[in-house]
């Protein structure tokens, strides 16, 4: 009874999260093999049509919250697809609102002196796309980003669950002879724990 329940949890969580888990495993290969996947980003610049209502630009500050108060109107106006992430002020007075999504970075660059604006879109190739998919995170932005972060947490919990439920399933399945399992589990666990202890104590 308990065995069946654990087996179903193990199986059903894998089926439910399969795409996300495979995305993380596949993108890890791309990240570990950067030389195999060269990347040539393409940048396009579009000039915005003025006049721009640059709201109290000097009071925006340099933090995310300040930029976030006014970014929504520009995101709609220029149909930007991506999550607003940060705000950068340059020494010469220009300032950027920076949006990102996996595979692309979009900068809304304001030139307060000339009341002009550029939409700078940098589209990356496959390697960067996979890297960003792997590293896209946090409960920030609109609903799609919140769902993404939820799936990330579920995938992380599933990894822990697979390990624990797998051990329990093995323990039941191989009740007659667990010698091989103890050797395999013990060597993997000992190596992992040994690595942690080694890294904590090595000079």
């Amino acid at each position: 009874m308990v065995y069946t329940l654990i087996r179903k949890i193990h199986l059903y969580s894998a089926l439910f999260l399969g795409t996300f888990l495979l995305m993380y495993a596949g993108s890890a290969f791309v990240i570990f093999l950067p030389d195999w996947f060269p990347d040539n980003p393409v940048t396009t610049v579009v000039e915005g049509e003025g006049p721009f209502a640059v709201p109290e630009s000097t009071n925006w500050g340099v933090n995310k919250e300040a930029g976030g108060k006014v970014e929504a109107q520009y995101r709609r106006q220029y149909r930007i697809r991506g999550r607003y992430e940060t705000f950068t002020r340059h020494d010469d007075g220009r300032f950027d609102l920076i949006y990102r999504r996996p595979g692309a970075e979009i900068r809304l660059r304001f030139f307060p002196d000339s009341d002009s604006l550029n939409v700078i879109t940098k589209e990356y190739g496959f390697a960067h796309l996979m890297n960003r998919l792997h590293n896209f995170r946090w409960y920030e932005g609109g609903l799609p980003y919140q769902i993404w972060a939820l799936f990330l947490d579920l995938a992380a919990l599933a990894m822990i669950l697979f390990a624990i439920s797998g051990i329990l399933l093995w323990h039941t399945l191989k009740a007659r002879n667990r010698t091989m399992g103890w050797i395999v589990l013990g060597s993997g666990a000992a190596y992992t724990l040994g690595s942690i202890i080694f890294l904590m104590t090595a000079a």
Binding site: L15, T19, A25, A163, G166
Partner: protein, 189 residues
């Protein structure tokens, strides 16, 4: 045949269980704004400065002369008025090295991180050149990734063989995996 495949699924999973737990725990941390907490200390050492090497090779030689292990972080590598500065990083610890090329005096700022940061560091560590542990960890990480792919493939095979569970499985596959596929496409297209 099915028994053999089940044993492969089982034993590969058991061997990599520790890695999967590290992966899961660190991923939960990555999904939050977690600031690493470091304990700082300083060490002064004198070495024989390497000569006739380019900047990158000099950093590697200095790292080895100081007995440090970890990867030289490329973007931190700079020439200074006195000599060279760079950072060496590995899970759980980082070293900022400033070497005076004339005297051979090395000033090392050591940052030692806690257990959670060390585990997070292991998440994105593959092969670390120059150390036996770094080589074995890279091998273990690759084994775990391949194991994961094999386990998913075999898991689907085992599920398909159980006819009564196909219907529920299809629903979960459609709603969860299908939904997340649409979400991934929404993000990138």
């Amino acid at each position: 045949m099915r028994k053999l495949l089940l044993d492969i699924h089982l034993y590969l999973g058991l061997f990599c269980a520790g890695y999967f737990i590290i992966f899961g725990v660190s991923s939960i941390g990555y999904n939050r704004h977690w600031d690493p907490i470091a304990e700082k200390s300083t060490v002064e050492r004198t070495i024989t400065p390497p000569s006739n090497l380019d900047l990158s090779a000099t950093a590697l030689a200095v790292r080895d002369s100081l007995g440090l292990f970890g990867q030289v972080v490329g973007w931190t590598l700079k020439e200074t008025e006195e000599g060279i500065t760079f950072r060496v990083g590995r899970p759980g610890r980082s070293y900022t090295v400033s070497l005076n090329s004339a005297t051979g005096r090395a000033h090392i700022d050591v940052s030692t991180y806690g257990l959670f940061d060390l585990i997070s560091g292991l998440h994105h560590t593959g092969f670390v050149p120059g150390t036996l542990w770094g080589w074995t960890w890279g091998l273990y990480a690759w084994t775990a990734m391949l194991t994961f792919l094999v386990a998913v493939g075999l898991g689907i095979y085992f599920w398909w063989a159980r006819v009564p569970e196909r219907r529920v499985g299809f629903w979960l596959l459609g709603v969860g995996s299908g939904g997340s596929l649409i979400l991934i496409l929404y993000m990138i297209v």
